[in-house]
Each structure stands twice: as structure tokens, then as C-alpha cells.
Subunit: 363 residues, 2 copies
């Protein structure tokens, strides 16, 4: 494999893989050295990202496969569904792609999740490579092997745990990212502070302006540290039996916001940013952390340009939506809470207390 | 776990499971001892099987779960598709079923494959139990963890390798099986002779009348021996990297018949029966076995009540359909051939020779 400045190894036995992080990676042919050979590669991208980077990726792959095709999907969370997934299957089958075909997910979290699920299912599993082009995908959805599509009744309800062969996180692609999407990615970076690394939260507080200015060194550090923490957690709990659940800090509230508004109205990272503010407040109200720490998290989320107040759906609707979340068990909502700076836990909470949190953080 | 006369252990490390074979099993509560607890069980069945056995199964499970629901799907291979799969997801989500829900596949191969795939995908994986009610499902599709749905462009093109927790093969359910379906199941039993166990083919020749008369002892032996052979092969090659491919004897020709006629016109086992006749003839024409052994296989297939001549689609159409089969690689069709009685191999064959085989066995 090509050398790169920054590399994070995800250790999962025979499903282990590398995340390469750096500048100008995706167009370099040697970055893909060592991947299994096949006749076909299929780049899966969307209408926004394909015009920017698909040709560059296809050129880099052209020496490696007899055919490199690109399928361009509609852009957006609303298209993370079966009909869009089927566009990938249609192309694979229409082209006679066999079970050694390698899929390349070129885009953000939606493209990554959907392509990963397509790879998990096509002929019962073909290999795939993640080439994430958003900060959110680089720090979060490209690590851990969670793939899925949405169902009208819930987000990510149909999917698989399926690991990529490699992740190529080219930070140059972040230059074209709209500010709103950059902020959404920062939400997941911020997340790793409260749940796993108190020092990271200090670093983010100091370097948030550099991150917002897209400073390459700052972004590389943020991506690397986020991937390392996630790698550690996922390595210990690939199938989300326990520890891995702490990665869902802010997600129970956040998923309710996304589902309540309709997928795609808020970006996922925006919902998670606001969800973390709510979850931090819940932790404080449960007496686990003091109010000042919750306020500090809220201030960082706000400085990152993320919303700190959720939509006024009513506490009852929030609770209803949270009860059908995947993390719920026998109808009991499971919240990721902060027990101490840098340490998270999963627990239930009284509906009344949760309603107070929601009332305090919706506008 | 309850004792039963006949048990086959599928050894796949932490995904190992037992196949229980016997009379009157599905309605006995203790047969399900040792399965993980959950609030919900969902029985997935079809319009033919549910009226016969769903209530008996639900009663047996009622002490184990707070809720036992049944979803009844339309019957037949033509319904092994996304809209039908989605009926399962719709029910799970509408009922608020969490990720500890256990699915029970009650029916033939279509119900088993579809339910297994639903279990593989729902919330990225929930446990499931196979309760096969056809001979074909008992000897074949309930062993090995292959799950899938069909795509308009090909059979089983979208699926997963996903093992059940247990298989409950109640031979009493075979009493209600139409003769055509019994014969279709026998196709897969016959298959294990040429590919893996020369003595089994002798036994089948001697006991075919007893099998057709649904003699309980003969059926139990046939199911047990078939499962044992398949277990051995699958245990050595869970993800179908090599050896497992021999289980596809007759399937390359058979899938072409199914796809060419439209799924569901012939039963899967009928297509496999005819496909084995073709594959045996191909083996003889390749000089691997003598014509007498191929003729013996054809005679047994005919005695079982299975077709020995395929539909007249034209050799060109057969070849075209076989080239898009999952087993094809880079457009080259892979055939399972008999090298010697009880021993199979995978190899390519000249299009002209394959065309001769097809011309000789279509009417």
C-alpha cells in the first residue's frame, strides 16, 4: 500500500482495514495498491460529488480493472432508500458485474451507508472501499462498518454490519464542502470529547476557529483522533452489543429530530449537535455532571455553527419517536449520558425528566 | 434443548447451530428451549402454510415471548422480492419490534430465504429460527445460512450469508406436501449422491419408492444424511469461496431454466432435477464419467417424478442466462461436474459442448 502521512488501523481480525488520511489521496493510483483484483469496479456517487471527483477516481483505478463504471445517485438523505439502492443493483446486473466486483463509495454518509449495504447484499457480499468526501463521513460513517438504508418508519432500519476493505479520506475534498456540512461534521468530532477524551474537548475549544477555516493540519488531527477513538470502541464491540452504544451520544434525541421533521430537513450532524446539547442537559439533570460542563458543550456546539435548540414537535412526539428508535429495548428508551468528562454510559431516564429537557431546548 | 431422535450439528464456531429432525416437533414448547429471550417473536409464513401450522407454532412459543405475531406473505417464488420482504419490515416497525425480536421462518425455501434475509437486515441483524415445512427446505435451504430475494434480472441476487439459531425440521409437515413438491425436494437429496456420497445414491435407488410413499424412517434418514453432507461442506467453506460451490450441481442449468421461463413456472427442485441430468451429461461428454453413470442419474431423476428435459429456449438463450448467474466469473460460466461417482469439481466448458448438452435435453 502507498505510504501516507496519517494512517489509522481498524483491528477487526480478518476484517481489519486501514483509514488513509491526507491531501490529494483519491487521485493517486498507488493508494489502491493491495486491494483484491477483479474485472469490474463500480464507483457509486451522487449528482453533487460525481462531477467534482468521479473522473479523478476513475482515472486512478483505470489501470487496475478492465472496466470502471460510475453510477450517479440523487443526492440527499431522502434518497437513502430502497429505490435508490436498487439503482446500484440494476447497474451491476445490467453490466454483468460478478461477485468479485469492487464497489467504491464516493461521497458523504448517505452514499457510504447505501453503497456499503449494496456491497453487503449484492450476490450476498462483494468487497467495497470508502472514499468519503465530507467531514462527517470521514470521521464517522466510514468507520465501523455500519451500513443501511432508511425505511419510511425509521432511519437506518434496514442494513448490515459490513466492513470496507479500505477508507481513503482525502481532506482536499473538504474544500468544496458547504459551511453547513462542515459544521455538521464537526458535531461528530465534538462528540468524541465528552464520551471518550476530555483532552480532545480542550483541543477543540482551542482549535475550533482553525477547523472552521479548514486548516489542513487541524482537520487532519481532528479526523485522525476521531477515527482512533471510534476504532478503539468498534474494535472492542463490532456488533454493538454494549460499549459501542456510547458512540450514539446525542443520537437518540437527534434521530427524533430527523424523523420528526422528515429526513433531510436538518442535516444528520445538525440533529446530532442539538441532540448532544439535550443529552448533556439530561446528564446534568440526572446529577451525573454539573451544569457548567453541559453549558460548555452547548457553547462549543453553538460556536461550531450548529443548532442548539430543536424543533417544537412537543415532548410527547419526541418520546414517541424515541421509543421506536433501534436503540430502544422493549419500548424503553436508552440514552447515552455523560458520567464524567470523557466518560459515557447508557441508561434509561424518567419520561418527565426527558420532557423537561426537551421543553428547555426547543424553540 | 429438548432431546430428539435425530440431530445434526452445524459447526461454524460462534455461529454453530442444531438441526432437529423428527415427528411432531414444531408444536412442542421444549424444542425451543435455550433460544435467546426477547419480548417479541414474529412468525413469517405464507397463505398456504400459515393456516396449517402457524397456530400450533404460536402456541408452542407463547410461554416464551410477551407477544407472538404472525405475518402471512403471498405464496410462491414470484413473491420472493423486495415488496414482500418489506411486508415483514412494515410489520416489525409498526409493532415496535426491537433488535432482540426473534423471527421464525415457517414454510418452504422461499419463506426461509426471505425471512433469513429480513433477519439479516432488520436493525442490522436480529436472530431467527428456521421451521421448514417442505422437503426441499428441510434438506437444503435451511442449512448453510444462504438468504436472499430475487431481482428482476436474476435469482437470489440480493441477499446475505446469515445463520439461523436453530432449524426445526418436523417431518409431519411433509404429509400435507403436494406430490410435485415432494419430488422437487428429492432432487436435492439425489444431488448429494453424485457430488459427495456414492453409497447414498445406492441407498436412494433402493429406497426411492419408500421416499415417494413418505415413509417416516426413509424420509428421516434422507434428511439427516443430506444435512450431514451439506454441513460438512458448509463447515469447510461458509462463504462459498471454493468447496461449497459443489452444492450447486445442476444449479447453473437449473437457474437458466427458472430465469428463462420466469420464476415459479417450474419449481426450483424441478429445475435442479433437470439441471443435474444436463450436468451429468456434460460430465460424460467431458470424459469425466462414463455415459452409464449419467444415464443412471437420469433414471433416478425420472423415477422421482422430476422432468429430465428442459424447455426449448434455444442454446443461445441458455448460455446468455448462465453467463449472468452469480457463479459466473468475468463472463465465464462455471459448471459443477462429476469427476467420479461421489466426487464433484467446478470447471469451465466450451460453449459448443454446452450447446450440445442443451440440444440433447430440451423438448
Amino acid at each position: 500500500m502507498a505510504t501516507t502521512d496519517t494512517l489509522v488501523r481498524i483491528a477487526l481480525d480478518e476484517r481489519s482495514y486501514d483509514i488513509l488520511i491526507g491531501s490529494g489521496l483519491l487521485g493517486r493510483a498507488e493508494i489502491y495498491d493491495g486491494l483484491p483484483a477483479g474485472r469490474d469496479a463500480l464507483i457509486v456517487s451522487n449528482t453533487t460529488v460525481a462531477p467534482l471527483y468521479a473522473e479523478r477516481l476513475a482515472d486512478a483505478l483505470s489501470g487496475r480493472y478492465a472496466r470502471v463504471q460510475t453510477v450517479v445517485l440523487p443526492d440527499g438523505e431522502v434518497h437513502k432508500d430502497w429505490p435508490t439502492l436498487n439503482l446500484v443493483f440494476d447497474r451491476l446486473l445490467a453490466s454483468g458485474c460478478d461477485r468479485k466486483t469492487v464497489l467504491y463509495a464516493l461521497g458523504g454518509g448517505v452514499v457510504g451507508d447505501l453503497t456499503g449495504f449494496a456491497a453487503a447484499c449484492y450476490m450476498r457480499g462483494v468487497p467495497y472501499v470508502q472514499v468519503p468526501t465530507t467531514l462527517l463521513a470521514q470521521v464517522d460513517s466510514s468507520v465501523g462498518g455500519k451500513t443501511a438504508i432508511n425505511h419510511p418508519a425509521g432511519k437506518n432500519m434496514v442494513g448490515a454490519f459490513y466492513q470496507p476493505l479500505r477508507v481513503v479520506a482525502d481532506i482536499d475534498t473538504l474544500a468544496s464542502l458547504p459551511p453547513r456540512e462542515l459544521a455538521a461534521g464537526l458535531a461528530e468530532v465534538i462528540k468524541y470529547g465528552p464520551i471518550a477524551d476530555a483532552a480532545l474537548l480542550d483541543w477543540i475549544e482551542t482549535n475550533l476557529d482553525a477547523l472552521l477555516a479548514r486548516d489542513a493540519a487541524a482537520l487532519t488531527h481532528a479526523i485522525k483522533r476521531s477515527c482512533e477513538i471510534k476504532a478503539e470502541v468498534v474494535g472492542a464491540d463490532e456488533r454493538e452489543a454494549g460499549l459501542r452504544a456510547i458512540l450514539n451520544f446525542g443520537h437518540t434525541f437527534g434521530h427524533a429530530i430527523e424523523a420528526g421533521l422528515g429526513y433531510g430537513v436538518w442535516l444528520h450532524g445538525e440533529a446530532i449537535g442539538c441532540g448532544m446539547v439535550m443529552a448533556a442537559d439530561l446528564s446534568a439533570r440526572l446529577g451525573l455532571i454539573d451544569g457548567a460542563y453541559a453549558a460548555r458543550i452547548e457553547a462549543i456546539v453553538r460556536r461550531a455553527g450548529l443548532p442548539v435548540a430543536g424543533p417544537r414537535l412537543g415532548a410527547g412526539r419526541y418520546l414517541e419517536l424515541m421509543r421506536i428508535d433501534k436503540k430502544a429495548e422493549a419500548g424503553e428508551i436508552r440514552f447515552v449520558v455523560i458520567e464524567a468528562p470523557g466518560r459515557a454510559a447508557v441508561r434509561a431516564a424518567d419520561d418527565g425528566l426527558v420532557a423537561q429537557v426537551i421543553e428547555a431546548h426547543t424553540a
